[in-house]
């Protein structure tokens, strides 16, 4: 099904607690308890295949923090977090508001539970909103009252796809989806991307990655692993910010790192593109 020619993607019609959810699995790996037995079971099975997964998830989260700060340093004051998941420590608005309390954020997720939870958590937080939508419907996201009400797309915006685009299969044309967001982004905007990979340049063997991907097929979210070249290609049309597309922990680390400081397997790539 090509997302280009179809209408808005149907959001889950039911809350199915018999199926794991990527957002809650993620939460579990980050040490949260916003999850259920089915989620933990998936998480633990994946960990048995790739024990470093929880550490890798923490790296994604750390990258998010570094990237948000980078965007703030670049002058961006509005954020669109696509695939925001379960709110946990280090949410975008928390990180950003430590720098500038005026920052505005819209969180978007397709998981009804994650959205419902986010709404409760963020109910009293001003200038932050939550949108229940699928990131594969750029028009629906961009034209939503939530985005229209909070974000001014005539000014730079940071569009975050951290650990979410690998749930968009090739058949849904992820490059096209990004392109439609890009069209709506003012010059000076940033696309923040962190994406799971099956590249085995470290010790991760492709087969293991495939087994993890297979686990996710039982969940509500299918995992598509992409190579470095594929991830780089997704940033086409943006000016790559230094140091380009790197392993997740290597993207602008807080302190210079040595090889043995990140013994994790290469679990994903990160990169930030600037709209020029």
């Amino acid at each position: 099904m090509s997302s280009v020619t179809t209408g808005p993607r149907p959001l889950p019609a039911q809350v199915d607690l018999d199926r794991p959810s990527a957002a809650r699995v993620h939460d579990y790996w980050l040490g949260g308890s916003h999850n259920f037995a089915v989620d933990r079971e998936l998480a633990e099975r994946a960990e048995r295949i790739v024990p470093e997964l929880p550490a890798a998830m923490r790296e994604y989260r750390a990258f998010l923090r570094r990237a948000v700060r980078f965007c703030l340093d670049s002058g961006v004051r509005q954020f669109l977090d696509l695939g925001s998941g379960i709110p946990t420590v280090g949410n975008v608005h928390e990180v950003a508001r430590a720098v500038d309390p005026a920052v505005r954020v819209v969180y978007v997720d397709r998981d009804p539970v994650a959205v419902s939870h986010s709404r409760v958590m963020l109910a009293d937080v001003p200038d932050v909103d939550v949108l229940h939508a699928d990131l594969r419907d750029p028009e629906r996201v961009l034209d939503s009252p939530e985005v229209a009400g909070l974000l001014d797309l005539d000014h730079p915006v940071a569009v975050l796809m951290v650990s979410s685009l690998h749930f968009v299969p090739d058949s849904d044309d992820p490059a096209g989806v990004i392109g439609r967001y890009r069209e709506a982004m003012a010059p000076g905007s940033h696309l923040v991307l962190a994406h799971a990979t099956g590249d085995s340049d470290a010790r991760l063997v492709g087969e293991q990655a495939a087994r993890v991907a297979a686990l996710y097929r039982r969940s509500a979210d299918c995992l598509t692993l992409r190579s470095r070249a594929e991830v780089t290609a997704l940033l086409t049309g943006f000016a790559l910010v230094e140091p380009g597309v790197t392993r997740v922990p290597d993207w602008r680390p807080d302190t210079p790192r040595t090889a043995d400081e990140h013994p994790h397997r290469n679990i994903g790539y990160a990169g930030v593109g600037r709209r020029v």
Binding site: Q14, L17, R66, V89, H117, T255
Partner: protein, 740 residues
């Protein structure tokens, strides 16, 4: 969290920190250079940060972590060294770690280990060997931190579980609400739909029906539920309806759409558009059937009425031309090799007079009455009476046995119309003419029989009224040929299919050739060489004689000019026939003048031959034309003189130069005539010649066939002769040769 943890003993040993640090108790903690100074705390915090690196996710950079842990370290050191000793603040540190998300199990493990080793070591508490009290205090701090940590983590876990459960409830509630709303909408669509909707199982049992369907069928839901779909079979259902239904319930098709009649509970028939769809379960097994039924009875009745109106004559109620043609075509389609068909094409005699004199209303009522009589005496299975326009009716005999069948019907119809028809106060006698066609359908077409019936009706009319005529192929062929000739004549002139023969006119006294009569011929591509009698009459009827005559005149003059140039004074005059219609053509004089001017023929070398009736006609215009021609110098001859009622006295007033005596008089002058009639004819001819000469006219005898005739005519004083004796009509060369 701030209360003292149970089981943690009050400190029994003072550590003598003041002595160790060389400071008073009050200033020992928090001093710039004391155990809580930046060096010690910073060093401890860095070691702590190093120990727990990567064991939990905290949203801080490494330096932020160290900064954060430095605060906690300061609290721990303070608690450890406090006099009196109280480990309670370490609980808050444990809780603070959870709050900052230092929640990994390994984080706690390493923290507790660090408290036992690095903390006392960096504080230098082991230096004086009083390890006992230090170990005790450290253990108490570890315990308090772990307890605070565990309690906070437990609380956080419970909170988060509560939060996520709440989120599930809310999300579920919202989706269920949406689902309920959507179900309610669908139910409303089903219940309120104007179209009838029914749901049945695969055995055809009816499970659900909406209000529209119940109303349409006249049953209650309970009644419908006791019935099976197959109970609604209608005897006139198309066979395909139930074949499609069987395919559907066997899962071979997913839907079908048909037109179908239903009996309502009150027995009334309704017409519907029926759409039946198959509903399958998740595994694709047929589960239900859904029927959507639209009542189109009104539409159907209207359509039927429109159809009837389209196929019937509103005045008489008889089938109209469209229906007749439809049935005629069907008779041809179903007739096969041996079938025959008959038509009686009927037209009232004198209907126009009745219509014009008594009014259209009477005319219409007459047509209605005639229609009724025809219907009464003819209509039967296989026979159709139709009014196909005006006062024309047609009877179709679909499976005729023989020609006799239509003849019998025609006689019947004529008899049925014999009795006068009463319309208001009028007693109207009517009759009809009928054209009959009856033949095998094989080898002919509906259009053929219609055309032939039309022709035959025309024959019947022209043969006299109140008759029937039977189509005659030979007569038709003749008429067709005539028609073809008249239709093709204009093109034939263009294509040069006509040509002229010339017959010499000879002076009887010395045998000198003085003139030549031009005779038109038609070399027809289909019918061969045609003499004037085949087409001149036709040309007169159609008016084609005028252009044809014009062509003859021009062609003859063109030839005359050739002779004139070649033979000068010896050249013959040319004699051209003028039909009656030509003589009355207003442009005759102008045409002749134009041709003479164009060809350069001297007017005196042109002679125009007219019949008596053309010249003696009552109208003045032809005479004026002849006078004008005469004045121009053109010679005028009267052709076939003696066969009409010539007013001899009138002749003197006419611009005539020559009389041509009809061949019938000349015939009597043949020497071999034994009955003595030649004597009479000789006298008549003699009288005519005398009379002509008295009036100053020349005389030409036509039809001279023998030398004896020629001699006698010369003896009588006749000026010229024409006929086979001298020469037959022939090509212009013949004249040229005679002159040379």
């Amino acid at each position: 969290m701030s209360r003292p943890a149970e089981g943690i003993p009050e400190p029994r040993h003072r550590l003598g920190l003041a002595a160790l640090a060389g400071r008073g108790r009050e200033t020992a903690v928090g001093g710039e250079d004391g155990p809580c100074g930046p060096d010690v705390v910073g060093g401890l915090a860095a070691a702590w940060a190093e120990a727990v690196a990567g064991t939990s996710y905290v949203s801080m950079s490494r330096s932020e972590i160290e900064q954060h842990l430095a605060g906690l370290t300061r609290q721990l050191v303070t608690a450890l060294l406090a006099e009196p000793f109280d480990p309670t603040p370490a609980r808050q540190v444990g809780a603070a770690m959870v709050a900052a998300h230092f929640t990994g199990t390994e984080t706690l493990n390493r923290t507790v280990a660090l408290l036992a080793t690095e903390l006392p070591a960096r504080l230098g508490l082991f230096r004086d060997g009083c390890q006992g009290p230090v170990v005790e205090r450290v253990a108490a701090v570890q315990g308090a931190l772990a307890a605070g940590y565990a309690e906070a983590l437990r609380q956080r876990t419970l909170d988060e579980q509560e939060a996520i459960s709440q989120a599930v409830f809310v999300a579920r509630d919202q989706t269920e609400q949406a689902l309920r709303a959507s179900e309610a909408r669908f139910r409303a669509v089903f219940a309120e739909a104007a179209i009838g909707i029914g749901v049945g199982d695969m055995a055809g049992r009816i499970l659900e029906a909406n209000a529209s369907l119940l109303e349409m069928m006249g049953y209650s839901l309970e009644e419908l539920r006791q019935r099976n779909v197959r109970d609604f079979m209608h005897p006139e259902d198309a066979a395909s309806v139930w074949r499609l239904y069987d395919e559907l319930v066997h899962g071979q098709r997913d839907h079908f759409r048909v037109e179908k009649r239903f009996f309502r509970s009150d027995g009334e028939v309704i017409w519907t558009h029926l759409t039946v769809s198959l509903i399958r379960d998740d595994r694709g097994h047929p589960t239900y059937q859904v029927a959507m039924i639209e009542d189109v009875t009104d539409r159907h009745l209207l359509q039927e009425r429109l159809r009837y109106q389209a196929l019937h004559d509103p005045l008489t109620g008889l089938p109209n031309r469209a229906l007749f043609l439809d049935r005629l075509s069907r008779a041809f389609e179903t007739g096969g090799r041996d079938g025959r068909v008959g038509l009686c094409y009927l037209d009232l005699d004198g209907f126009k007079v009745i219509n014009d004199s008594l009014g259209h209303d009477v005319g219409d009522q007459l047509l209605v009455a005639v229609g009724q009589r025809l219907d009464a005496c003819v209509s039967a299975p296989g026979r159709l009476v139709a009014r196909i326009g005006g006062d024309e009716f047609i009877i179709l005999v679909e499976r005729s046995g023989s020609t006799q069948d239509v003849v019998v019907i025609a006689d019947h119809v004529l008899a049925a119309l014999e009795a006068p028809i009463r319309v208001g106060e009028h007693e109207l006698a009517v009759s009809a003419s009928i054209g009959l066609v009856e033949r095998p359908v094989h080898g002919t077409t509906p259009a053929d029989v219609m055309r032939d019936a039309d022709i035959t009706l025309y024959w019947a009319k022209s043969d006299g009224k109140a008759k029937w005529a039977l189509f005659d192929p030979e007569r038709n062929a003749r008429e067709v040929a005539r028609f073809t000739l008249s239709a093709t004549m204009p093109a034939a002139i263009e294509r040069g299919e006509f040509y002229l023969d010339y017959q010499p006119l000879v002076r009887l006294s010395d045998g000198q050739l003085v003139g030549a009569e031009a005779l038109v011929r038609w070399r027809h591509p289909e019918f061969g060489l045609l003499a004037p009698d085949r087409f001149i009459g036709l040309a007169e009827e159609t008016g084609q004689i005028v252009p044809l005559g014009r062509w003859v005149l021009r062609e003859a003059c063109r030839q005359a000019r050739l002779w004139q140039d070649r033979f000068g004074q010896r050249a013959p005059f040319i004699s051209v026939n003028l039909a009656v219609r030509q003589s009355r053509d207003p442009s005759l004089v102008a045409d002749v003048a134009k041709v003479l001017a164009e060809t350069g023929v001297e007017p005196g070398r042109l002679q125009l031959e007219l019949t008596e009736s053309a010249v003696m006609g009552t109208a003045d215009e032809p005479l004026d034309a002849l006078r004008a021609l005469s004045a121009m110098g053109v010679r005028i001859a009267i052709d076939d003189f003696g066969t009409g009622y010539s007013n001899l006295a009138y002749l003197r007033h006419l611009p005539v130069h020559e009389l041509k005596i009809a061949g019938s008089f000349v015939e009597g002058l043949r020497a071999s005539a034994a009955d003595g009639s030649h004597v009479v004819d000789a006298r008549i001819v003699g009288t005519l010649v005398s009379l002509a000469h008295a009036l100053g006219l020349g005389v030409t005898a036509e039809g001279v066939e023998t030398e004896a005739q020629a001699r006698r005519l010369d003896d009588i004083g006749c000026d010229s002769g024409q006929g086979w004796y001298f020469a037959r009509p022939g090509p212009p060369d013949q004249i040229t040769r005679l002159l040379s």
